[in-house]
Symmetry: C2
Subunit: 353 residues, 2 copies
């Protein structure tokens, strides 16, 4: 172990060490007719409306975000600075019929931002045009080069990490909701993105699961640098300490984030790890104990400030009942951030310090 992350491709611009944040965006929907493929565009519209100027749909496309339809030139005139690929294509490659619109975007002064599997800079026409027009091709799946090894040294400022009983149950949206809730209270809070959708929403971040193992904790340290004592970084969690495939990602992120506070995210009713029918889901209590046991290595003051439950499949009344019961049982604030209300206010109270 040692050295720097030199096996990472340096030819592609990445989302963290940006001279300036990504966007504002023109959301690109291509010629898709399947709303399920446009999850990224919908996520951006919902979570970063202030960074979305409009949408660009190609002939034949039927999916819309409801935002104003603009050409790249019109969008640039209205303040857009990047075309964001908001739609997935089967196979994760850029279809040839998208290329003319992407080249036009570069000509119009827009960067291109993508979370697709194939890299923008691997398409020679795009690489050439970006160079010619002085624009950036940003692949948010690519981590920065030259990430240092984690030091474990204490940094100034406060940090909150969302952790989970599993993958895919609301760690990103909890972190976003808490960030906004704290900001609405006049606090100095920053959302720190660790996955591609989060990076697009924030306009910056590090795709933590794409970092070479040796540099995981160091990447998390880089992501939330030293700050003012009253500043709160709210860090998007990944995976789970009890996940047979991804626990290492969660641990590196925990150690590097050295959070003062964490929120456990959970989906009531889920009994097994997603995609692992033989692996029992840990309880919320197990996750709290394990997160404290492991997190204290880099922050002995780490504490759980509450639980975020994903009650998307519940009625309002069912959700209220569940939230009250869980809060009683655990002796902690429990809330569904997407429902807000007094329960979420109590959770935010704890996050203030």
């Amino acid at each position: 172990m040692g050295g720097t992350a030199d096996s990472v491709d340096r030819s592609t611009v990445h989302a963290s060490h940006q001279a300036s944040p990504l966007g504002p965006y023109l959301l690109f929907l291509g010629d898709t007719v399947e709303p399920g493929y446009a999850k990224t565009a919908f996520g951006l519209r919902d979570w970063a409306p202030e960074r979305c100027i409009g949408e660009l749909v190609l002939p034949g496309g039927t999916v819309s975000t409801g935002l104003e339809r603009l050409s790249s030139e019109e969008a640039h005139a209205k303040g857009a600075r990047a075309l964001l690929i908001g739609v997935a294509s089967p196979g994760g490659v850029i279809p040839p019929q998208w290329l003319p619109a992407m080249l036009d975007a570069l000509r119009s002064g827009l960067d291109i931002v993508s979370g697709m599997h194939s890299r923008l800079s691997d398409i020679p026409e795009l690489a050439f045009a970006a160079e010619a027009h002085g624009r950036r091709l940003v692949d948010v799946r690519v981590p920065p080069a030259n990430i240092p090894i984690g030091t474990g040294a204490k940094r100034s400022g406060k940090r909150l990490l969302t952790v989970g009983t599993d993958c895919a149950l609301g760690k990103k949206y909890t972190a976003l909701s808490v960030t906004r809730g704290l900001q609405a209270r006049g606090l100095d809070a920053t959302f720190r993105a660790t996955g591609q959708t989060g990076i697009m929403i924030a306009g910056a971040g590090i795709p933590i699961d794409a970092v070479v193992s040796d540099f995981l904790a160091g990447a998390a340290e880089t992501l939330s640098p030293a700050a003012d004592e009253n500043h709160i970084d709210v860090i998007e969690g990944q995976g789970s300490l009890f996940h047979p495939g991804y626990a290492a990602v969660s641990l590196g992120l925990l150690h590097g984030s050295q959070p003062d506070m964490f929120i456990v995210c959970h989906e009531p009713g889920r009994t097994h790890v997603l995609g692992y029918p033989d692996v029992r889901l840990p309880t919320i209590e197990e996750v709290i104990l394990q997160t404290v046991a492991l997190g204290k290595l880099t922050n002995p003051a780490i504490r759980c400030v509450g639980v975020s439950v994903n009650t998307a499949s519940y009625t309002d009344e069912q959700a209220q009942r569940l939230i009250a019961a869980e809060s009683d049982r655990l002796g902690l604030p429990v809330a569904d951030p997407l429902r807000g209300g007094p329960a979420f206010d109590q959770l935010l109270d704890r996050c203030q310090g």
Copy 2:
């Protein structure tokens, strides 16, 4: 998270998915005059003598392994199949004066095996000559492509992992010694290498700390595949669960290895994590408890079979006394594998099942 490790460079041959194991070796010492730079060559001579045919020293070089001095052609005639770069150079790059000998090795039918920072395949002359002569350029720092995500599924066969209170205190040599000890007893045991020196010694393996985080556990699963019920894989550990920079690597390796048994490696007298003067070293007991607590996710039957102490700086008598005292205190076999003796025999007894 998901997909395959496609951000890994595929242009370089790596040490695992080899059609055939690496070597036997001709050890290349270059023109070095500093024995400290030749640690790799000495390690190979000491730990894989049966794979070392001779040494190649350039004019001006004064360091020797004591093996027979051979040209590439002579070594090939005696059974060598790879020139192993056994010496480090300042900066980790191949000095130009080494190139003629390396090209001659390829012409003589030898592969080239390197653990240096700069990649062999990035040197056009070498890439061209390897292609022309049908030889391999093997960079042992480069992990294989297409590593799957960890499944956590139980595999047949037995597994033993060496873990540690820290980095750099004998996990590799303990695993090698235990493998040989078991083999000497007629057991079917295989050393599984996870670092570059180990990979050179074994002729195969995966440099686990160079694997992209998402695929860490999957890489460890690939490293020790399903085997006969009585077969024992002895897996080289990395880092420590209490290391602020590398704990994630240790956890991914632990989860993917799903060991039935582990040995805790420790250097008596070390009080702080190497290079981290502010981080207290965990106790052996803490490492045992943590390894069981985390390892049981993928193997509920995980158990500690003993402790390996590195007593290199002790006299024989001091070492015997320390080993007896630690064994009494912990109620476990404690041995320095490099000293052997009855204590090591007791440790091996436990490793048999």
